[in-house]
Structure formats: C-alpha cells, structure tokens
C-alpha cells in the first residue's frame, strides 16, 4: 500500500476500472482505483500544477489576440477566412475563431478552478486549526534560527520578559508558557487574505459565466425622429448575440424613439472637422400605456438602464432620404437610407434597392459626402463630418437584384444578375449620379428618376443584458482585498528567551517570517534595541 505522499508507479495505460477489478488479489506496486484517484487529486492540487496551469492559461489566451475572433470582429473573421481557405476548416475545428468559449480553453480554466478548490479547502481547515491553536513554543535553541541575536544584561529575566510582553502587545502571545520565554505571533490574517483571494476568483468566474450564458448583446441602427423607433423584440435587432441559455422571452418589454440628436463638431485644432461629443434624447416607456413615458439623455459612457436591460449609444451616421420613381412614375423606393461611415469625416457608403420598380428593378450603390468639396487636385472629398453641403454620388444598376435567392444584407448589392447603367452617349463610362440636396436626375432608357430629398441621422445602439455583472464585480473587489491582505500582511513569529547565567542574564531573540518577503533581521535588531533600552551598555557575548 502506498502511503500518502509517496508516488505510486503506474503504467501509462492503466485503466482505473480494470485495475480495481483485477482478479486474484493485488500484486505489489499495484493500485486501487481509490489510490490512483487520490494520487491524481494530489497531483492536480499541487502548487506546481497550479503554476503550470496558470502559464498554460496565459499561453492559451494568445491565439485569440492574433486570429480575429467572431465575438469581437466578425468582419475580420470573414476576411481572414477568405484569405486562408485551406487553414479555415482546421482553425474552425480547433475553435480558433472563438478561443474564449472553446472547449480546450474552458478545460484549462476549469481544471484550474478544481485545482484551486482542492488546494484551498484543505488550507481552510489548516487555517481554522491554526486560528484556534496557540503560537508555537520557543524552539530550544533560538540562536540557530537564521535571524537571531543575543545579549547579556544585569536585569532579572522576569523584568526582560515582562518588557518583551509589553513590546509585543500587538501580537498573539502564547500563554501558560514556561517561565523563561515569550512566544509571539502575528499576521494571521495573511492566510485569510490568501484564502479570500482564491475563493473570490471562483465568485468572479460564476458571475462571468452567468453573464455569458444568461445574457445577450444586440445592436440596432435607429433613425432619429419620432417616426422611427425600436421595440425590444428579437426581430428588431440588426445583430443579436445571445448566451447559450438565453431565451427570447427573457427580453424586457420596452419601446423607445430618438426624439433628438446633437453632435458637437470640432471647428479647429488637429482633429478639426471631427465629432467631439454627441448626445441623443431618448423617449422611452415600458408599459407604454401613457403612464410611464420618460426621457433620457443618452451619451457615450452614459448608458440608459431600463429594468436590467441597458442601452448604449455607440455610434452615429447619416441616412440620406432618397426617392426612386420607376419608369411608370410610381414611387418604387422612398425613405432615409442608412449609410455607414468609412472614417471620422463621415464619408459614408450605402446601397438602395428598389425591387418593385418597373419595367426593371433598380439598385444604387455609392457614397455620401457630408460637406462636399473638390480638393486641390480636383478630387471629390468631404471637408468635415457636419452636413453643410451634402452630396450623394451613386452608380446605377438594373436587372434582377436577386432578392429571391434568400436573405441579403441591406448594405450589399448583389450584382450577379444586373447590368450597370452607362452614361448616355458614352458607352464606356458608367453613369454616376451626383446629387446635391433637393436635386433629382432622370435615368436613361425610361428607367425612372432618382431624387435626393433630405438628410436624416441615425444612431447605432447597443442593447444588452449582463446578469451576474455585480457578482463578478463583487468577486474582483473581494479578491483585491484578499490580495492586499495576502501581500502586505507579514506573518511573523517572534521569540524572546531570558535566563540566568554566570555572566548575568542571557537574552536571546529570534524571528521567523513565513512569507519570504519580510526583513526579519531588521525586526530582530529593532526588538533588541527596544528591549535593551537606551542605557543598557553591556556587550553582546
């Protein structure tokens, strides 16, 4: 039978079940399943394993910062996948596009947590016993300890020891001690801090897991104005990223619209023409029966909390109002069209689709200049982000927009079954419609007309629920408190012994620091100085 602490030797492929059921009793060196388990447990909960697992966790986090992650940068993921068609299936199998929720990443931190519990629970027991126990008695030979000192004095041992007790008042003293020594201990809370720190890590993990399993994060672009708005149901979101246990009926009911939106533009300085601050006025209600209409000023860093669901303003842009009349004079498309900004000047890109236009479907794609100018070289550009001289510049396509083929992004024009419309008289030159506000243009071949009627604004809102965030926060705060205790409280044992010798009273002082960070030599020196007082001049032996 292997004793605890002794490493049993096991062959690599020894299956636990087989071993324990082996017939005919056990040969020497053989293990029972229990022993094997206990051995494995002891390995798992050793400091060395914890260290290796920690380093593994650090290492395993690296790929997710180099390879685009679907939760962070889904556009990056699809680009990467287009660029690396061979590697993509391999990476996908390994979960490399979603490292932080992949099974192997989970395996590492779960093992770490198991190891932690296995490590901390026994320590709790040890700690409890130590709390109840007395400080250990002075070792027989104090001067053998690494940091110790001794001196001779004329004072009686009792006097020295009484003074020592006085000096060590902040310590726990061993009572009922043999008359010749004082044993003191302090800094017990360090261990408590250490335990608190490690246990709190589990709380953090629980809070974090709740957030990622029970919560969700969604985004929506809402055009500013009372005529538009948002109701919190699944089909209103542009993108929706639920946790694995999230159910759609967990969505809190509410409705809002963006009554007003203001941007503060920088008119000078190095970032001239860019937006500094922006702010929306949100009208919202939960019951929406006219009794609970409320208003909130939504800003970056200043989210709105509606009964546990939070609404964040994270971006904005322009939605030119474009109208397409088809060849028969009917309105085939009309309304604000969300254009996506390409950079800080709000030079934006967008697409218009008019699938009901007759005789042919019409699609436009092109760009929007908030303040259109021709730069020094005669190229079109935008001076700033504010819409002072808005202009759209669109290319025209007709034919089949291929909308029957399945869902299509609103920011993408499928040109596989369309032809580009050319400038009349110039067959080689694609037709480009450059329209300022209020202008309209007639398309060739009786296709219809396009007009640019106005400019609306839109807000990108992020809406999310993250349950467990308070738990996680409480966990980290507790962990930090524990950590402070663990790192700054120095557990220390101090002993003073005084006994009569032929030359006078021999006083021995020693100190021991169990954290490895303390300077016990200084402690001893200080204690000796305090014990001797200013006028004791007798030399050290």
């Amino acid at each position: 039978m292997t004793r605890p602490g002794q490493l049993p030797d096991i062959s690599d492929d020894a299956a636990v079940g087989e071993r324990s059921e082996a017939p005919g009793g056990r040969r020497s060196g053989e293990l029972t399943a229990r022993e094997l388990l206990r051995w494995a447990w002891r390995q798992l909960t050793s400091m060395r394993t914890a260290l290796v697992l920690l380093l593994l966790l650090a290492l395993a986090s690296v790929p997710g910062s180099v390879i685009p992650q679907s939760g962070v940068d889904s556009l990056g993921v699809s680009q990467w996948q287009d660029d690396h068609p061979k590697l993509t299936p391999v990476y996908e199998r390994l979960g490399l596009f979603d490292v932080y929720s992949s099974p192997w990443f989970a395996a590492i931190y779960l093992l770490l947590m198991v190891s932690l519990v296995g490590c901390i629970l026994p320590r709790l027991a040890v700690y409890w016993r130590a709390m109840c126990a007395q400080p250990p008695a002075a070792p027989r030979n104090l001067t053998r300890l690494p940091d110790s000192a001794s001196y001779l004095t004329d004072e009686a041992p009792e006097v020295v020891l009484a003074r020592a007790r006085g000096i060590l008042r902040g310590h726990r003293l061993r009572d009922g001690e043999r008359a010749d020594a004082v044993s003191a201990e302090r800094g017990h809370l360090r261990e408590a801090g250490n335990l608190l720190f490690h246990l709190s890590l589990i709380i953090v993990l629980v809070g974090f897991a709740m957030g990622s399993m029970l919560g969700y994060k969604g985004g929506v672009i809402v055009v500013v104005g009372k005529d538009y708005g948002f109701t919190n149901t699944l089909n209103q979101y542009d993108d929706f990223d639920p946790g694995s246990l999230f159910r759609a009926d967990d969505l809190d009911p509410f409705t809002f619209n963006i009554a007003d939106f203001n941007v503060e533009w920088l008119m000078d300085g190095p970032r001239q023409g860019m937006a500094r601050g922006f702010e929306s006025t949100l009208d919202y209600c939960q019951k929406c029966d006219g009794t609970d209409d409320r208003t909130y000023d939504l800003k970056v860093n200043h989210p709105l909390d509606i009964g546990g669901t939070e609404v964040f303003l994270i971006g904005h842009g322009y939605a030119p109002v474009i109208t397409i009349r088809d060849g028969e004079g009917n309105i085939a498309y009309s309304g604000p069209t969300v254009f996506l900004p390409e950079n800080q000047t709000f030079f934006s890109f967008g697409v218009v689709k008019a699938p009901t236009a007759k005789p042919q479907q019409i699609g436009l794609d092109g760009v929007f200049y908030p303040t259109f100018i021709l730069d020094d070289r005669g190229n079109p550009a935008t001076l700033m982000g504010q819409a002072n001289n808005p202009l759209i510049s669109m290319l025209v396509h007709t034919g089949d927009l291929n909308l029957d083929a399945g869902p299509q992004s609103v920011y993408y024009l499928d040109k596989s079954k369309t032809q580009q419309v050319m400038t009349p008289g110039e067959r080689e030159k694609p037709l480009r419609l450059d329209l300022s506000l209020g202008e309209s243009a007639t398309l060739p071949d009786g296709l219809g007309t396009v007009s640019f009627d106005g400019v609306e604004r839109w807000n990108k809102l992020q809406i999310s629920q993250s349950p467990g965030k308070r738990i996680a926060l409480a966990g980290v705060v507790l962990a930090l408190l524990g950590l402070l205790g663990s790192l700054f409280i120095r557990p220390r044992r101090v002993w003073v012994r005084a006994r009569r010798t032929d030359d006078g009273t021999l006083v021995e002082v020693a100190a021991l620091d169990r954290s490895g960070g303390g300077d016990t030599a200084a402690v001893v020196t200080e204690l000796v100085a305090a014990l001797r007082g200013p006028d004791d001049t007798k030399d050290q032996p």
Partner: protein, 331 residues
C-alpha cells in the same frame, strides 16, 4: 497662458528633462567608475600588504568622489523628474478642455517613464536602490528619446469614449503599475545577471546587493504593482468598458494581453512559493510578465487592427460595421 504656449512649455520641459536625465546618467556612470577604481585599488592594496582589507580603509579621496557623484546623480534625477512633471502637467493644460495627459502613446510613455522615476526616487532610501540608478536613469532617457522621435503627436482632445473619470482612474493605475513593474523588472534582470556569478565582488556586480536582497526588493515592488494592476485591469477597466461599449469584458486584444500579463505575474507570485521555481525561474517569469506588459502597450497596436483601445490611432466610436454588415435584414 494659451493652449499653444502650454504645449510649447511641455515640449521644452521634455527636452530639459531629457538633458538633465542624461547628465544624471553621466554622474552615475562616473560614480561607478570611481567605485570600481576604488575596488581595484583595494585589491592591489590587499595584494601589497598581504593583510585583510576593508572598504573603510580605502583612499578617502576615492570614496568621497564616488559618494559625491552618487549624490549629484540623485539630485540631477530629482531635477529632471521635476521638469518631467512640468511637461506632463503642461501637456494636460494644453488640451481644450484640460484633460489628463494620456491620450496617445507619446503621452502614455511620458507618464509611464515619470512613474518609473518617481517610484525609484521614493523607494531609493527605503530599499537602498542606489545601485539601480544608472539602469533606471538610462532606461528613462532611452524611452524619452523614443517618445520624442517616433511617438510624438500634437495635443488633441480626447475622443468621446475616452472621456470618462473611470478611464482616468483606470489609466492612472495602469501607468502606476507599469512603472512599478518596470522598476521591479530591472531588479529581476540584475538578479539574473548576478545569479550567474554570485561571488563576484569587484566592478559593477560587486556594487549590487546580494542575491537575497535583490530577490526581496524585486518581490516587494512586484507585490506593490500586482494589486494595482489587478485594480486597473480587472476592476476599473471593465467598469469603463461597460459604460463605453456595453460589455465589461470583450476579449479584445488589449484586454487579452492585460489578462495574460496578470496571469503571468500571478504565476510569478506562485513560483516564489513553489519548490524548484524559487529564485531564477521566478525571476524569469517576472521578466516574461514585463515583456507581455510592454508588448501590450507597444506591439499590439501594430499587430491587431481590431482593438478598441485606440492609442495608436484615435478611437473612432463608429457603428460596429462588422455586425451591421452581416445583418440579413432587408428593410
């Protein structure tokens, strides 16, 4: 004073700080050469007299010269640090509205190096860090040069998302921790160098404290920096991220590397309590942690485009194009 003159003042103060740091570096180098000369004399004296010799018996002149230059070096470092501080404050006042001086990498470097110097000066007495002087001052001089030559950017207001008092707390603590980790890392490097030849008593290594002391000093400074880093990365960072981006932890590259740094330093603290990992391996781990820290600050901006923490490029709070582009809704 106008914003422009504040900015000019800041630039001049950086230049002045750089020059004075450089003078301090020279003073410390002279100090070291004086001391190694002293040691050489000591050895010769030992050989000549054939008797025991201690530093106390050294030619008094040599000794005094070393001590004089040491004091001069510290004094110059103090002056340089004052200029450095002026540069930082002026930088903040140059912006409109006034703001904290860490909107970009230039300013972050300026602040980070200031913390290194300040921490060194504060701990100089307590931990007897005199031996570290040329390393610290040299490091700061190099960083300032890099900042001025490659990282310089004119003063600009913070982008909206960076405008939050949580961010202020977050960055103060991150910079504080970075400075302290750097200082501790210098101690760990010296530990590793000394560990290869622990008996050497002459020259540079002779001047450095014993392995035990080096290890303890490194630990103490790390033990200060780690909770500060925890506070920065795991408390204030997520709180700010939650306010700005709706989710307190996004696994964006900057966060990932801050987490990696945290885990590696936790590993270092563990290693100090693990048999077989104390000393050398622990010191190596600490340096790995320092490498991840600086990589996160400098490298990740060039490696990854998807980080939302715009130090390299001012953050554009723009719609999440990726998410919208994927949207299948055809309205």
């Amino acid at each position: 004073m106008t914003d422009t003159s504040w900015e000019t003042l800041s630039n001049q103060a950086v230049a002045a700080a750089g020059v004075v740091y450089f003078l301090a570096l020279i003073a410390h180098l002279v100090e070291w050469s004086a001391i190694s000369a002293k040691k050489r004399v000591a050895v010769e004296a030992l050989v000549g007299a054939g008797g025991p010799e201690t530093t106390a018996d050294l030619p008094a002149e040599q000794h005094q010269r070393g001590a004089f230059f040491a004091r001069l070096g510290v004094l110059l470092t103090g002056i340089a640090a004052a200029c450095h501080l002026v540069a930082l404050v002026a930088r903040g006042l140059a912006a409109d509205p006034d703001r904290v001086p860490w909107g970009n990498m230039y300013e972050f470097t300026l602040s980070g190096t200031f913390v290194v110097t300040a921490a060194y000066l504060l701990l100089l007495r307590r931990f007897r860090l005199g031996w570290m002087a040329p390393l610290v001052v040299g490091f700061v001089v190099v960083c300032l040069m890099v900042a001025v030559i490659w990282l310089y950017e004119p003063v600009a207001p913070l982008t909206e998302a960076l405008n939050s008092y949580w961010l202020v707390i977050h960055v103060i603590s991150a910079i504080l921790a970075t400075g302290a980790f750097t200082l501790a890392g210098i101690a760990s490097i010296v530990y590793l160098v000394k560990a290869r030849k622990p008996e050497v008593t002459t020259g540079w290594l002779g001047r450095v404290p014993s392995l035990d002391v080096l290890d303890r000093v490194a630990y103490r400074i790390h033990a200060f920096a780690f909770p500060v880093w925890t506070f920065a990365v795991l408390i204030t960072g997520p709180i700010w991220a939650h306010e700005a981006w709706a989710s307190y932890w996004n696994w964006d590259p900057k966060e990932v590397w801050a987490f990696i740094t945290w885990v590696v330093y936790a590993g270092y603290l563990h290693a100090r309590a693990t048999a077989g990992w104390k000393g050398r391996n622990a010191a190596i781990l600490a340096l790995v942690g320092l490498a991840t820290l600086w990589f996160n600050f400098i490298g990740i901006n060039y490696f990854s485009s998807s980080t939302q923490h715009g130090y390299a490029a001012p953050a554009l709070v723009s719609p999440d194009l990726s998410a919208s582009a994927e949207s299948p809704v055809n309205r």
